[in-house]
């Protein structure tokens, strides 16, 4: 391999290393998976980039951590390799000019400027956000960290799906056609349905606008990251420091992206746009769900609304059952002795004992009255006899006068 750092011959060395790597790769895959994973030739392997790797893991469960990690690793590796390629191009330009030492800052300025121009083309061009990816190839390594993140978002089933991505596609012409459709008033039997569809499209346009604003903000963030990288490289140059490996460059670039991203996501603008985008997306989804419900209902099939209603009823019943179980548990666990004692206390508080004592005192008084000296008529004597008999029916023992007086004084 030619060791001249910036000569055009480095490609031959690169090819021989690729061949060596291919041999290692073949050996590794054959020993692990047999011949099934061999591609036709090393050239095809490199032509397809790293796309063979994720396929290798397809037979395994899709969400297993090994598969996910390996897929992410493949994606990162691919970006890393592309970054290497782009850096070579940059070096090549600098080298061809023969003015590396003197004019590298000018070349760097130019490279950064070119990268910024690419960000100005919009997210669809840069990342293939809509899934179209029509000019994805032209995106250089500058967009790589952001692309990895965008891939993460667009493949996230919770955040996006084919329908939502489809809403993001289409250009100005589509929008104009939609606007024309939206201005058609609904009439006749299908008026309600038409209005619902029109409302859905209006919401979809709002979402698309919000998404575009979000992407623009992210593009600005990427440009700020480029400025940061530019500044840091210039500082390194001024301080006599240098990056030793491709990995160092990658890490520096990721750091710059993180720094720019941190500043963006903490800002009010991000919060406003992100909130608007998520709310808009939810309105679209809700409208879709309502339309689907309408269709399901027309076919006499269960709707989301009905299922929710059933789930709500189940939740309410569960709560009632839990409350009843708690009451039953309390009743089962109660100490009967304590309850009896409590009831006794309650009885006492009601004054039963006092009533008994008062009754006894009354009896005593009567006894005293009956034993007093006789100075009465015949009729009075007959009454007293009657009272005496009544009192004795109560089986009360006569009490001394002193005791009766004491009770009165309580």
């Amino acid at each position: 391999m030619d060791n001249n750092p910036f000569s055009a011959d480095w490609m031959s060395g690169w090819t021989s290393l690729q061949r060596k790597m291919w041999e290692d790769w073949s050996e590794a895959t054959q020993s692990t998976f047999g011949n099934a994973w061999q591609t036709e030739s090393p050239l095809n392997f490199f032509k397809n980039g790293m796309s063979q790797w994720p396929n290798m893991f397809m037979p395994q469960p899709v969400k297993s951590p090994e598969v996910m990690a390996m897929r992410h690793a493949m994606g990162s590796m691919e970006e890393f390799m592309r970054m290497g390629r782009e850096v070579f191009k940059l070096f090549q330009k600098v080298s061809d000019g023969g003015t590396m030492a003197q004019e590298w800052t000018g070349q760097l300025d130019k490279a950064i400027q070119q990268a910024k121009e690419m960000f100005n083309q919009g997210s669809e061009a840069m990342y293939g956000l809509t899934g179209l990816g029509k000019v994805d190839e032209m995106a250089s390594f500058w967009s790589r960290p952001m692309k990895a993140w965008n891939d993460f978002i667009t493949t996230n089933p919770a955040f996006s799906n084919d329908t939502m991505r489809a809403l993001l596609s289409g250009g100005q012409a589509t929008e104009e056609a939609l606007q024309r459709f939206l201005s058609v008033p609904g009439v006749g039997y299908t008026r309600e349905k038409q209005e619902k569809v029109q409302e859905g499209l209006r919401l979809a346009l709002e979402y698309r606008k919000a998404n575009e604003d979000f992407q623009k903000l992210m593009m600005e963030t990427s440009k700020r990251a480029l400025d940061l990288l530019h500044r840091k490289l210039l500082e390194m140059g001024a301080e006599g420091k240098s990056l030793q490996t491709m990995r160092d460059l990658y890490v520096l670039w990721v750091d710059c992206n993180e720094e720019a991203n941190a500043a963006t996501v903490a800002g009010k603008e991000y919060n406003e746009i992100n909130t608007r985008m998520v709310n808009a997306m939810m309105r679209v989804r809700r409208n879709m769900a309502e339309m689907v419900d309408g269709t399901m209902s027309a076919f006499n099939l269960p709707t989301r609304r009905e299922l929710d209603s059933a789930y709500r009823q189940i939740s309410l019943l569960k709560r009632r059952v839990s409350a009843l179980e708690e009451i039953i548990g309390e009743l089962k666990g109660r100490d009967a002795t304590a309850e009896i004692n409590t009831l006794r206390d309650d009885m006492e508080k009601l004054g039963v004992r006092r009533l008994r004592e008062e009754l006894a005192a009354l009896r005593n008084q009567l006894e005293e009255a009956l034993t007093a000296p006789p100075a009465e008529s015949g009729a009075e004597a007959a009454d007293k006899t009657a009272i005496k008999k009544t009192v004795r029916i109560g089986n009360a023992k006569p009490q001394p006068a002193a005791a009766a007086s004491a009770q009165k004084g309580e």
């Binding site: 060791n3 690169w14 951590p65 994606g75 070096f91 990721v254 939810m282």
Partner: protein, 354 residues
């Protein structure tokens, strides 16, 4: 000076070496085997709908007489606290002689959409606590609440102080409106009702994306390049994959519980304002009069330290202590240093208080 000391041949060699490592690592991948969810032996002792109460097998002959109930967040899975043998807060507590229980919330599905915070706090947590009280014939248990689980523990303890002997909270948000709380900022103006009414349960993937947004480039790119460096070491790779599994093992959030938590805690900051109502009762943190240990992480980007430390001003306890861990939100459970610092500190604090 030109800041690139990277000659093309060096760069090519570096990339080739890297690729070779990746190729060799494929074999290691196939040998890693099953990635476990938690490593300490445990038994399911109580089930309630999708909720399971686990009891970890004690690692000392006579464990501390008052068990600790670990209440984890609804977000992600609780095996983070027991992720690998040398990185397990649970194991650390068991080694320190604690008797440990843990609530596993399970994976809510559409039928759980209407579970609200009353169901979680006055329902599941209370029934788990009562189960432990009956099982051990004790009046009060120790509670260790983690992150959102810490907020739940605060609510539970404020509502049922007679059931809690000591309360430990870890990386727990209390003030949701500190200026450095990005999550809170992002949620502040979202139409939560629209979100829940539309989505029903909130997908775990959506929450994951939100968390990843904080460091998207490191977490979706650089991290996997770093992984290639350890692919020739089966143990290290397995540890990496354990963490990877945990990160993306995100249960969906029951819609109504999410609605309440997002609105009352995140948007209205109701916990410190005393406005949160669970069921028909208001949560008053001043009711927390038992000893409280508040563990927070000084570099926590999800729950900033100030969001946790404010607890001191709101609890009614005269025995309040803080433990600051020099690390991040995840490091507080899994870093090597935390293993030496956190479980012994918690266990000793609990033992001192009977």
């Amino acid at each position: 000076m030109f800041p690139f000391a990277i000659s093309p041949d060096k760069a090519v060699e570096e990339l080739a070496r890297f690729n070779k490592k990746l190729a060799a690592g494929v074999k290691t991948f196939t040998e890693v085997g099953q990635i476990e969810s938690g490593i300490s032996p445990k038994e399911a002792v109580y089930r309630d709908d999708k909720v399971t109460l686990y009891h970890y097998i004690p690692r000392v002959e006579n464990p501390h007489r008052v068990p600790v109930l670990v209440v984890y967040a609804l977000v992600n899975r609780p095996y983070m606290a027991d992720i690998q043998e040398d990185r397990s807060m649970i194991r650390g507590l068991l080694d320190e002689g604690m008797d440990v229980y843990l609530i596993d919330w399970g994976y809510p599905d559409a039928s759980d959409r209407f579970l609200d915070l009353d169901d979680y706090i006055n329902g599941y947590i209370k029934r788990c606590v009562d189960f432990i009280r009956d099982r051990h014939d004790i009046y009060r248990v120790n509670i260790l609440g983690i992150c959102q689980g810490g907020a739940f523990s605060l609510c539970f303890t404020a509502l049922h102080p007679d059931r809690v002997r000591n309360l430990v909270v870890m990386v727990t948000p209390v003030d949701f409106h500190t200026p450095d709380n990005l999550l809170s900022l992002w949620v502040r103006d979202l139409d939560i009702d629209l979100l829940v009414d539309t989505m029903g349960n909130i997908p775990g993937d959506l929450l994951n994306l939100t968390f990843l947004s904080m460091n998207p480039f490191r977490l979706t790119g650089q991290k996997y390049l770093d992984m290639v460096d350890l692919m020739d070491d089966k143990v290290k790779l397995k540890n990496f994959l354990r963490m990877e599994k945990w990160i993306f093992d995100s249960p969906d959030q029951a819609g109504e519980a999410f609605r309440q938590f997002a609105k009352e805690f995140f948007q209205k900051n109701g916990l410190i304002k005393g406005n949160v109502k669970i069921g028909d009762r208001r949560v008053d943190l001043a009711n927390i009069t038992m000893p409280v240990l508040n563990v927070y992480a000084t570099k926590d980007h999800l729950v900033p330290p100030d969001a946790s430390k404010v607890l001191k001003q709101h609890v009614g306890s005269s025995d309040y202590q803080e433990l600051a861990f020099n690390g991040g939100h995840i490091g507080v459970y899994v870093s090597a240093r935390s293993q030496k610092e956190i479980p012994p500190a918690i266990a000793n604090w609990l033992k001192e208080r009977g």
